[in-house]
Amino acid sequence: MDDLILMKDIVKVYPPSVVAVDDVSVSFRVGEIHAVVGENGAGKSTLMKVLYGLVPRDAGEIVYRGKPVVFHNPGEAIAAGIGMVHQEILLIPEYTVWQNIVLGVEPAASFDRLDREKARHLVKEKIDEFQFNLNPDALVGDISVAARQKVEILKLLYRNVSVLILDEPTAVLTPQEIPQLFSELHRLRDDGHTILFISHRLEEVLELSDRITVMRRGRKVDTVEVGTTNKEELARLMVGRNVIFTSRRKEHTPGKAVFRVHDLTYVDAEGRQRLHSIHLEVRSGEIVGVAGVEGNGQYELVNSITGLIEPSSGTISVNGSDITRAPILERRKLISIVPQDRGKMGASVNASIMENAIMTHHRLDSRFSLWKGLLLNYNQARTFTDELEKRFAVVMAARDNLFKSLSGGNQQKVILGRELMLPSPFVLLDQPTRGLDVGSIEYVHEQMLQMQAEGRAVLLISADLEELFLIADRIVVLYRGEIVADLPIENASVEEVGYLMLEGRGLQRDGQKAS
């Protein structure tokens, strides 16, 4: 097969000194699905952004259709036939599907008016041509995430793009939606499109692609044919060592109830009921997983526990003390929190690593106090940060460097370390592995098992079913603000939980009305 795109000796350095892509050469062939895999920070997204013209390269050459090219911006790349779908979907929810698709390249009628009929017709044609099951007149705000993703892809196809770059397209989909995306991508390939696919989910990559390029720490490790490799080999190439994929759970008996939610209800400012009479209990040494499609009450549940919102009724208690309306500092004596958004809630990215490490400790641990608590003991803060660095194997240049200079995995290690170094009996983890690479995920899981062994009660909110089944002792399913199932892990199957997440009722209970 011919090389459609040849990237030669590409180097990209993010100022001042983060080498994101380090002398990478890779070729993409006409009509293949080519996966680029690697841990977070391996440079796969950056490499694709260099190709797409979103990020300027610092060295190297790109040959496209036999000619060296430089794309200064995505517009030039799209004009040449290369388009990219980003992880975050960038559409206008108030516009219909066809309006979103033609936006920017609208067919014009006289006086430069938008030719609505023609535009709609063209979009309809494209939908039919690629057999995308989409209604061109639906408002984007009303359609599912999977459908929005299709709109994004169609937007590029409408611009006659022949090379599609997809950045972790499955990250936003439910397990049930993934096969459809894959069959559409296969059809596009068979039509002669070339698809470059960024992912770190190995099963998907093996199922979908023809060839796989593995990156690690900015370098290309290898490009392999799908038929000649397997999951274990890929994982080894990605992280440079073997990763365990079997369940990490150990046999143990949980102790007394530590964390209790009783009849918790939350009605938001617009009068919508977000949480319906939630009952939840986590015992010491137990990991309870909360499954659910995002937006089904996880946010409200987490914020009621952390104290960012005040529940309408019900109680939350830890070790018997009621914290439902306690100030946040009081809660923090009992609860460790690993929030879902590292940059927004978990850390201050423009502060130093040390300043991030000592948060909360500076109030709760008297060793940080000087002059009766007026002064912060910076000597102790330094010692503490070094201790955290060692205990949680954080890779960092200096504790006074900015937090944002750390890689995603190391940022999470600092946050996790800070929270676990609090002596709290209850740990709340909200999507603790989101956006992390395989190695870091494994590390976070290990730490969770460690918490469990220490006898802490752990509540894990996760959109990743695989993770819940790997780690949790019990899974509760949140659906429209209600707990619709509470299953010991031995009695639960991925399919059933997936179905519960989407439908709010179990497979075997079909026909019965959900309460």
């Binding site: 350095v13 000194s17 002398d23 610092d58 946040i328 923090r332 927004k344 978990g346 990215v349 912060l376």
Partner: protein, 352 residues
């Protein structure tokens, strides 16, 4: 730090060059003008002492704005807090009969109290009615302006004066000159040192800084951000009030109409130029004061109008603020280039 210094000095040089170009275009001799400007502001003990004395209100209001902005509090009420502090200090100097050793510290405390109370009104409105301090501090500036104007023509007016003013304060409250420098400079430096210490060494300062960068993170970390907000308002109000008190005690020794001048707005501008850095605020405050002070002398011996100092200040602000980002991205990009080249020449080497 070195980068900030470099970008500051480059900015000042470029601004002076642009200013020179403007003077040339008007037919003035830029070298002679600059010489006169700095002769009357920096060269020699007396010009330097004047520059320092004039910098007091600029630096203190600038410090007030820097601390507020860096803590995520939009206190734009320095003009009002300055005059309220100045008025309260003046009242102390008018009605208290005490020896200097007691009166000076009491007047200084009164000045800080005046500013803090005025800022406290905005803090209260925010806490009680969730009213944005951005608006309320601006509006309170007007009220303070008219309130002090009324006070000096009404109850505390000096009926013998030609323009609205209070009577002179008790001599014991006059700040003396020590070695040519007015004592207010010492109080300013003490305030800079004190607030630096609070901001960088106290637990409260740590929480203010983190809240300024990411208040949600601070809140979730257990910081009482409401209490911190009120404290920052009171402290920054006190700093602006102190500026007003020191102006009265060092200069006219009474509260005159227009006492606040543009000090506080210049101070806010200085805070922005300094990127909310405390030491940078002190340095830029001194530099702006040098330009303002020198401009008056310059007018005496050259034909150049003193308004050129306003032009220079405006150019400085534009060049430094615009140049800061540009310079730092350029430096970063140069470093990235070097790194890329090194990576290519040494493809097997591990990157750090």
């Amino acid at each position: 730090m070195a980068k900030k210094l470099l970008s500051g000095i480059t900015g000042i040089c470029i601004a002076l060059l642009i200013g020179a170009g403007m003077m040339l275009a008007q037919g003035y001799d830029p070298i002679a003008t600059y010489q006169a400007l700095f002769q009357f502001s920096l060269f020699g003990l007396s010009p330097l002492a004047t520059t320092f004395k004039n910098s007091v209100p600029l630096v203190l209001t600038g410090l007030s704005a820097s601390v507020a902005f860096a803590s995520g509090v939009v206190n734009l009420g320095q003009p009002g807090q300055l005059v309220m502090g100045g008025l309260l200090a003046t009242l102390g100097g008018l009605y208290l009969e005490l020896p200097a050793l007691l009166l000076v510290p009491i007047m200084i405390l009164l000045a800080m109290l005046g500013g803090a109370l005025w800022a406290g009104v905005a803090a209260f409105l925010r806490r009680a009615f969730n009213m944005s301090e951005f608006i309320s501090t601006l509006m309170l500036n007007m009220i303070a302006d008219f309130f002090t104007a009324w006070a000096i023509v009404g109850p505390f007016a000096d009926r013998t004066a030609n323009s609205p003013a209070t009577l002179p304060i008790d001599k014991a409250g006059w700040l003396p000159e020590v070695g040519g420098f007015n004592l207010s400079v010492l109080f300013m430096l003490l305030a800079v040192a004190g607030i630096w210490f609070v901001f960088n060494r106290w637990k409260a300062g740590y929480e203010w800084r983190i809240s300024g960068q990411n208040s949600l993170f601070a809140r979730l970390g257990g910081c009482d951000i409401n209490k911190n907000f009120v404290t920052v308002m009171l402290v920054t109000g006190a700093l602006a009030g102190l500026a007003g008190g020191l102006v009265v005690m060092a200069g006219p020794h009474r509260f005159l109409k227009g006492l606040g001048a543009n000090y506080a707005w210049d101070g806010i501008m200085i805070a922005i130029v300094a990127g909310n850095g405390l030491i940078a605020t002190l340095l830029y405050g001194l530099f702006f004061s040098a330009i303002q002070t020198g401009a008056l002398g310059m007018e005496l011996i050259t034909d150049v109008p003193s308004e050129i100092s306003l032009v220079l200040q405006a150019v400085l602000v534009l060049v430094i603020v615009a140049g800061r980002e540009y310079l730092s991205t350029t430096l970063d990009r140069l470093a990235a280039r070097r790194k890329a080249l090194a990576a290519r020449h040494n493809p097997e080497g591990e990157f750090p």
